[in-house]
């Protein structure tokens, strides 16, 4: 594919001066209140659904002497919800962490929202929301205080907090310390934190683990809500069941490589694509 050549030659994806439409200028959706910076037109990307908002090419990463990811190529477009399946240790979490800029790839490259994760991590961070394995909350603060802290760190104001707490059904526990929360409640609070800003890409690592039916339903309604507003989501899953209704595609990773992809959305005929 033409884009593959672009990547191999080191140029940024999405910008092809030879393309007949010429370079495309785009105002990035001012979803983050701090993302109102001007976009360098050389690095602009088209906001059409064809240009992937997550674009990983041959991403590899080692841990010590062994390789956790061995060349993963994966794309997701705006509004797409992609499920990442695989057993423990297959590298799904590592891929998510690379896309969130927490760690760097040791080979290959990845761009999110048009920015290279290794070269422009700050830009990627202002566009991405990451929900990790651990909720990343402070046990001795209350739910509300955790969100207030996050709001201060994001640079947004705290007005939305009450509404957000209600959306994740934590209003009753707003002033309780997180130490007493069940893991389901912690997960909901972690999601609530993501809602303080409006990322264009969501990277969710096993968001359904330890959730009860109500929690799963809430997670699904949130994700599909976001998908409708154009958010691309990459969801790491242990099993397909809880998320089946909201996924557009699933990708299965085995031993650091993509083993198969499957389209689930009703709009397209289901097809099985095997990529090695």
């Amino acid at each position: 594919m033409g884009e593959a050549h672009l990547i191999a030659s080191g140029r940024r994806p999405g910008y092809d001066p030879g393309a007949k439409d010429g370079p495309v200028h785009v105002r990035q959706n001012p979803t983050f209140s701090f993302a109102k910076r001007r976009i360098n037109t050389v690095h602009a990307i088209a906001s059409s659904a064809q240009t992937p908002v997550i674009d990983a090419r041959g991403v590899a990463r080692r841990f010590g002497a062994s390789w956790v990811l061995r060349g993963v190529t994966l794309q997701a477009s705006a509004g797409e919800t992609v499920g990442l399946l695989g057993v423990n240790g297959s590298g799904k979490s590592t891929l998510l962490r690379i896309l969130s800029t927490l760690i760097k790839p040791h080979a290959g490259s990845a761009t999110v929202c048009g920015y290279d994760v290794a070269r422009d991590p700050e830009e990627v961070r202002s566009c991405v929301g990451y929900l990790g394995h651990t909720p990343g909350l402070y046990d001795d603060l209350t739910a509300r205080e955790n969100l207030q802290f996050a709001a201060a760190m994001f640079g947004t104001d705290a007005r939305e907090i009450d509404r957000i707490l209600e959306r994740v059904t934590l209003s009753g526990a707003a002033d309780q310390r997180v130490r007493g929360f069940s893991s389901g409640m912690q997960r909901r609070l972690a999601i609530a934190r993501l809602m303080l800003v409006r990322p264009r890409v969501l990277l969710l690592d096993e968001p359904y683990s330890n959730l009860d039916t109500a929690g799963i339903a809430l997670m699904n309604s949130l994700i599909s809500e976001w998908a409708k507003s154009g958010v691309a989501s990459l969801v790491v899953l242990h099993e397909l069941a809880p998320a089946a209704g909201i996924l557009d595609r699933t990708v299965t990773i085995v031993e650091g490589r993509i083993a198969s992809e499957e389209n689930l959305s009703a709009a397209q005929a289901p097809s099985l694509v095997v990529i090695r």
Partner: protein, 230 residues
């Protein structure tokens, strides 16, 4: 809009508030660390006493070392709160400069160590039969400057040690040699002031201490980003 110095300052304050509030509410924290510092002081008393003059001479050293040993625990703890729940990842992903994280932790650790210093000095004055000098405001100044140097280097190295193996060993191993200039200056200035400062040395040591603090403050600020990101 969310870049810029004022927002980084707001972030630093938020982090300091979070650290101090968490510390205050977790029952373990401050009290046990201070208790440890006092215990260490008592141990020094046993090691060096009971001769009155001997322990009076040793008082400045014993006080600073007690604060140092207990402080090592405090510095590692300040990162522990981030590592326990995986909060450090989220902390890195927030926008703005990483230096805001350093500044916030510095503020929180400085408050912690200062409070601890007050308690240890009070106990030390009693245990080691120290005569409070007329120049005690200057003494407070020395304590302040020494604490700044200690907290700056401690917070910096703990960012690495707390995330390594054998963190209880690694932090002292890295930190103590680096603190030699600051500790020498602080201890000598303290000794000078407590002993009536016959030769006017305390002022010289104080000036050196300020210089050391500035150098290490700037160097750690510049280097912190490399250390917290990776």
């Amino acid at each position: 809009m969310t870049g810029g110095l004022s927002h980084d300052w707001r972030r630093a304050r938020a982090i300091a508030w979070k650290d101090l509030t968490s510390e205050r509410r977790s029952k373990a924290g401050f009290n046990s660390v201070v208790a440890l510092a006092v215990t260490i002081l008592v141990m020094f008393g046993f090691a060096l006493g009971p001769d009155a003059q001997a322990i009076r001479d040793a008082a400045p050293g014993a006080i600073w070392l007690a604060v140092l040993f207990a402080g090592v625990l405090a510095f590692n703890r300040s990162y522990q709160v981030e590592l326990d729940g995986g909060a450090l990842e989220q902390l890195i992903l927030y926008p703005g400069s990483r230096r805001a994280i350093f500044a916030g932790k510095l503020l929180a650790n400085f408050a912690f160590v200062s409070l601890m210093l007050v308690v240890v000095v009070a106990v030390g004055v009693i245990l080691f039969q120290v005569h409070i000098p007329a120049a005690w405001p200057a003494l407070l100044g020395i304590l302040f400057l020494g604490a700044v140097g200690l907290v700056t280097l401690g917070t910096f190295y703990a960012a690495m040690a707390s995330r390594s193996r054998a963190r209880e060993v690694l932090l002292p191993l890295l930190l103590f040699p680096m603190l030699v200039p600051v500790l020498l200056a602080a201890m000598e200035a303290t000794k000078g002031l407590l002993g009536g400062d016959a030769m006017g040395d305390a002022g010289n040591w104080a000036r050196l201490l300020i210089a050391f603090d500035v150098v290490f403050f700037v160097a750690t600020f510049l280097a912190f980003e490399s250390v917290i990101e990776v």
